[in-house]
């Protein structure tokens, strides 16, 4: 399973996205599903930098992926603050623009675009596993 280590800063996001594109192409996802996986990984890495590390240049992001017969499994590891998953809320769309909150979108995107999302904390590391199955549409 190839593992890549990136500095925890926003500039790394484009480089991580290139790896995600290689992985989704290798796995054979269509453009829409591949875009979804790219979004989920981008949001997860942005959250690691912003919330786990509390800012840029405070730690690393480990990215690895594995392709099985029917799944693309992406793993992200960081040694920042332990992640406590919150309740995932669907954005409220029936409110006027001025009252529309734009928070919590990243986490919502991760759960919408991926088929499985697993959080774990082991030996001081947050471990986030994002799984996309073959032939599933985005939710």
């Amino acid at each position: 399973m190839p593992t890549f280590i990136f500095p925890g800063k926003y500039e790394s996001l484009a480089k991580i996205a290139e790896l995600v594109q290689i992985a989704t192409r290798e796995f054979g996802l269509d453009s829409c599903a591949a875009y979804g996986v790219e979004t989920a990984v981008d949001e997860a890495c942005s959250n690691i930098i912003e919330h786990a590390y509390g800012g840029e240049d405070r730690g690393e992001i480990e990215f690895s992926y594995e392709i099985t017969a029917d799944s693309l499994i992406i793993t992200l590891r960081d040694h920042g603050k332990k992640f406590k998953p919150k309740k995932i809320e669907k954005p409220k769309t029936n409110v006027p623009l001025k009252n529309r909150s734009d928070h919590g979108l990243g986490l919502y995107f991760i759960h919408q675009w991926m088929d499985e999302v697993q959080y774990d904390h082991r030996e001081g590391y947050n471990i986030l596993t994002l799984i996309k199955h073959k032939g599933t549409m985005s939710k």
């Binding site: 800063k9 926003y10 500039e11 996001l13 484009a14 996205a17 453009s31 829409c32 875009y35 979804g36 790219e38 979004t39 981008d42 949001e43 942005s46 930098i49 912003e50 669907k90 954005p91 409220k92 769309t93 623009l97 001025k98 529309r100 734009d102 979108l105 990243g106 919502y108 995107f109 919408q112 675009w113 985005s138």
Partner: protein, 111 residues
Amino acid sequence: MEINHTEFKRCDVVKVSGRVDSATAPRLAEKLNEIMDAGRFRIVLDLQDLDFISSAGLRVLIGAQKTCKRYNRGEVVLANVQPNILSALDLAGFTPFFKIFDDTVSAVGNF
């Protein structure tokens, strides 16, 4: 990300290309704020060559829309929205907040 800004008499066209993520979204916000600070609130965002937008970018779009629509002084409209970008806007529940045009000419004509 690249930003090209053209000022017209009736509106401003901002062409955004490449990736809008947490690294680049602040630059997009800065450009849109610069336009709005100049008292110009009719903005066309041409998204023809936008490859990717994360929630950080979508927050910039919705923030600009809130500012432009205040006092009915204008609005942000979108042109040439590619299917993947449209899916992201839709998933965020943001499509009802923006007029979406097939091309820049129609978007400019809206103003």
